[in-house]
Symmetry: C2
C-alpha cells in the first residue's frame, strides 16, 4: 500500500488506524497458525467507515480483509496479499433482542457466547455453537457459515440468519432479507453472503432468528471397543429417527490424547466414545435418553453413563471438551481437516482413516460431529520433518478424494479459505468454480475483497 | 418465435413439442387467472433436453418459461412474453429416498404430496406444505420457495434443500450443494437458485432433506369475538415460547364465507378463529396442547375445541381447509396477497385492514399463517366494475406500504412474479433491485429465462 492510500485511510479512521509492526503482527495470523503481515489494521465503528475503506481500496487497489476474532481454521481472515485488515471487534453491540418476535439484531463483532447468553437470559436460544464460541464473533461465524455440536438438530449459522447489512466490493451498502420468519422477495442475497468468506461483501449488521430455549437436557457418554461399532451406533440412531442435539464421536487416538493430559476414568478396552445429548420438553427427554442408551447397547457399548443435572453433565462433557487443547499439548503441529460424509458411510470412512494412518505411517486423530457426518481429521506432524509433511499432505488429499467419492463434502463448517482452495474444483468441478468466479466478479469487480481466498487463481490485487 | 426455432426445437423434443392452439391454451394461465399464450409447449425428460432448449433460446432469442403445475399465485409460470413453456410434469420420478441418511433425490415434476406420502411410508417427514400440495410440484415449490402451514415450526422449502441440478441461462448444467447436512464449500448457489422463480436457472433435480415423522399431533380450534384478541393470542403464544406446527387465523369475513358454503357449528358471537396444531413426542404433545388452550383462554377465547385422533382432527380442520374454495364460490374474483409482519404487529395489521376495508368500501377476507405473521389478504371484487378495481388496487398498495412500515415483507411464500414486480423496489430499495439485476445478468446474460418476472423493466426478450 502506498503512502497516499495510508493517509486517505487515516482520514477515515484517525487513531483507529494502526500501522506499527507490533499492531500488524497481532492481526497477521489465525487458528491455522499461518502468518501474513497486513500493511495496516483498522477498527471500524460503522458501515459507513467500511464503505469508505472499500471505495479507497477500489481507487488505490489494495486488499481489504475483514476479520472477526481470527479463530478460523481455513485462513479466511489472513491478509495473504497484504492490504488492510478491518477488525470488526469494536462493532460489538447487540442492538436488540426482540422477545416478542424472537429476533436479535447485532453488529458483527459480538462474541457468539455473549449473544447466546443474552438470549438465554430471556428464555431464548441462539443455537450455533462453534468450538471457539467463547471468543469467536458473529461476523466471522456468518462469513464462514460456522456450525458446531448442535447442528445435528438445529442446523448451522445459515439457518439463523434472516437479514444482513453488508458493504459489497463496489462500496454499496446493501440491506438484505427480512425481519420475519418468511420472506421471498427477489433473490436470496442474504444466503449468498453467508459463507462467502468476506469475498463478496463485508457484513456490518445481522438480523438473527432465535428459538425458545429447550426446557430440559440429558447427556450420555457411551464407550465402545472401536470406532466401527461407535460409527454403527451413530448411523443406527439416525435410522431409528432419534434426533439428538449433540452426537459427538472421539476415536481411540483422540481419547488417548486427552488421557495423557487429563485424568479421566475410562472403561478398560475403550477404543471409541460417543457423547450424546438430547433436549426438549422435560416429559420427553428422559424417554429419548432411554432410546439413545438402548441404541448404544444394541451396537455394543461397553458402558453408558448418563446425567441430566448441570454438574453431572459437565463431567460427561470433559472428555469431548478437552480434545482440542490436549491435542495441542501432545502434538503442537497438526493439519486439521473438516470433512463430512453421509452418516451411513461413517463406518467406511473410519476404516479408511485407520488404513491410511497405517499406510502413510502417520498419527491421525479423529473426532467431531458424527451426528451430521462431520469429522475433524487431524493429521499430527512434527513440523520439522519435510518428508513427513509430504506424506501428511498426500494423506489429506486422499482423505478429500475418499470423502467426495462417498458423497461427502470437504468442508462442513470451516470453509475453503486458503487451506482448501487447492481442492475446491475437486468438489464443485470446473463449471462450479467458473460460476462462482462470475459471481465474485459481479459483486467485487476489482477483486479487492479478501483476495486469494476460496479460488486458487484470481485477478490479483496485491498491496 | 420463428419457424427455424420451432423446427430446431422439434429436433429436440419430437412429439413432445406442442404448438397447436389447444395445447398452448392449456399452458397459458396459472392461479392468478391471468392468461398469456406461449408459442409452444414442450415436455422435457432430461436436463440435457432443457440445456438444448436454453442454447437454442440464446441463439434465436426466445423466452424459456419453466412450469410446474401452474398453481402459483404471482404469475411465475406465465409466458408473459411468449416463447416456449417447459412443463416439467413428465420429469416426475422420485429417484431415491435414503432412509439411512434422511435424504430424498427427486425430479422437479414430482407432486409435493407424492413425496410427502412416500416419505411418510418410511417414517419420514418432508415438511413444506403449500395449500396446493395435492397438485403442485417440487420444482415449482423450489422456484418460488413455497411455504405453508407448518413453516411456523419447520421452515419453508429453502430449509429442506441440500443441493440442486439446474440449467443456467447460459446453458450450463450446474450441480450445487451437498448430500450431507453440513457443507460450506464456496458460494451458496443452491439458495441463490431457490426462490429465483426460474429467472436464473431451470431446476432439473433436487436433493432434499427429510426429518423424522412426528410421533404424535394434537389439533385445537379456538373461537374469539374478533381478530384483535385472536391476533393477541398468536403473539402471546410466540412470546410464551410455544412452538406450534400450525397456527392459522381466520377473520370474521373468512368464517362467514365458509359458513355460506359449509354447515359448520360455530359459537355465537364468533369473529375470529385460530387453528393450532402441536406435534412431537407423545409424552409432550398433550401438555403443549394444554399450554395452547390456556393461552387462548387467557386472551379471551369463547370456546376451545381439541382433538388428537385423526377423524376429530379432520373435523377441526374443516373450517380452515374450506376457505379457499368457499371464497371462490362466494366471490370468484379476488386479489390474493401474501404479506408478512412481525408477529407482535399482527394486532395493528388487522386493525389497519378493517379500517382500510371500510375506508375503501371493499370486502377484504383475511386468513393465513398467523404463527409466522403471514396473512393472505384477499380483496374481493366483482371483476366487472372498473372503479371498484381501481379502489382495490389502491388498497393493495396501501397494504404493502403498511406492511413494509411495520417491518414486514410483501411476500411470504408466493414470490414476486408479475403481481408484485411493481412493488419490488418498495421493499428492497433501488440498490437491492440493481444488485439483483446484476445477478440476473451474470447467470442469464441474454435474458432468455422467464423474462418479465420479478423486475419491472428488463432487457426484453420477446418471442
Amino acid at each position: 500500500m502506498n503512502e497516499k492510500a495510508i493517509s486517505a485511510l487515516r482520514e477515515v479512521f484517525g487513531e483507529r488506524l494502526k500501522t506499527s509492526l507490533e499492531d500488524r503482527i497481532c492481526y497477521s495470523y489465525d487458528a491455522t497458525m499461518k502468518e501474513f503481515l497486513p500493511d495496516a489494521v483498522a477498527f471500524p465503528l460503522t458501515a459507513e467507515e467500511v464503505r469508505r475503506t472499500v471505495l479507497l481500496a477500489n481507487e488505490h487497489r489494495f486488499p481489504v480483509v475483514p476479520r472477526g476474532a481470527g479463530s478460523g481454521f481455513s485462513g479466511g481472515s489472513l491478509p495473504v496479499r497484504g492490504g488492510i485488515v478491518l477488525s470488526t471487534e469494536r462493532m460489538d453491540r447487540i442492538l436488540s433482542i426482540d422477545t416478542q418476535n424472537l429476533v436479535a439484531v447485532v453488529e458483527p463483532g459480538v462474541v457468539t457466547e455473549t449473544l447466546k447468553e443474552e438470549a438465554k437470559k430471556r428464555g431464548l436460544f441462539y443455537p450455533p455453537d462453534p468450538a471457539s464460541l467463547k471468543f469467536c464473533t458473529i461476523g466471522g461465524n456468518l462469513a464462514e457459515c460456522a456450525g458446531g455440536m448442535c447442528a445435528v438438530k438445529y442446523g448451522v449459522t445459515r439457518d439463523y440468519v434472516l437479514g444482513l447489512e453488508a458493504v459489497l466490493g463496489t462500496g454499496e451498502i446493501v440491506r438484505t432479507g427480512v425481519y420475519t420468519v418468511k420472506g421471498v422477495v427477489g433473490y436470496d442475497l442474504t444466503r449468498m453472503l453467508v459463507g462467502s468468506e468476506g469475498t463478496l461483501g463485508i457484513i456490518t449488521k445481522a438480523t438473527l432468528r432465535l428459538v425458545p430455549f429447550p426446557e430440559s437436557v440429558a447427556t450420555l457418554l457411551a464407550f465402545f471397543r472401536a470406532s466401527e461399532p461407535g460409527a454403527r451406533a451413530v448411523a443406527g440412531m439416525v435410522e431409528a429417527r432419534i434426533t439428538p442435539c449433540a452426537l459427538e464421536l472421539m476415536d481411540r487416538t483422540a481419547i488417548d490424547c486427552v488421557r495423557k493430559v487429563v485424568d479421566l476414568p475410562v472403561p478398560d478396552g475403550t477404543g471409541c466414545a460417543l457423547l450424546i445429548e438430547v433436549d426438549g420438553p422435560e416429559s420427553s427427554v428422559s424417554r429419548e435418553a432411554d432410546r439413545v442408551e438402548e441404541a448404544c447397547r444394541r451396537y455394543g457399548a461397553i458402558e453408558v453413563r448418563r446425567a441430566s443435572e448441570a454438574s453431572g453433565r459437565e463431567t460427561l462433557w470433559t472428555l469431548r471438551r478437552s480434545i482440542s487443547q490436549a491435542i495441542r499439548q501432545v502434538n503442537p503441529v497438526k493439519i486439521n481437516e473438516d470433512i463430512v460424509v453421509p452418516r451411513s458411510r461413517l463406518v467406511e470412512m473410519f476404516a479408511f482413516l485407520a488404513g491410511l494412518a497405517e499406510r502413510k505411517n502417520l498419527k491421525i486423530v479423529n473426532f467431531g460431529h458424527a451426528g451430521d457426518g462431520n469429522i475433524h481429521v487431524n493429521v499430527m506432524i512434527s513440523g520439522t520433518d519435510e518428508e513427513e509433511r509430504r506424506r501428511a499432505d498426500e494423506a489429506v488429499e486422499e482423505v478429500f478424494r475418499k470423502t467426495v467419492e462417498l458423497g461427502g463434502t470437504i468442508s462442513g463448517e470451516h470453509g475453503v479459505g486458503i487451506s482448501k482452495a487447492p481442492y475446491l474444483e475437486m468438489e464443485v468441478g470446473p463449471l462450479g468454480v467458473s460460476v462462482m468466479k462470475r459471481l465474485k466478479k459481479c459483486f467485487d469487480p476489482n477483486g479487492i475483497l479478501n483476495p486469494g481466498k476460496i479460488f486458487l487463481e484470481e485477478p490479483a490485487v496485491r498491496a
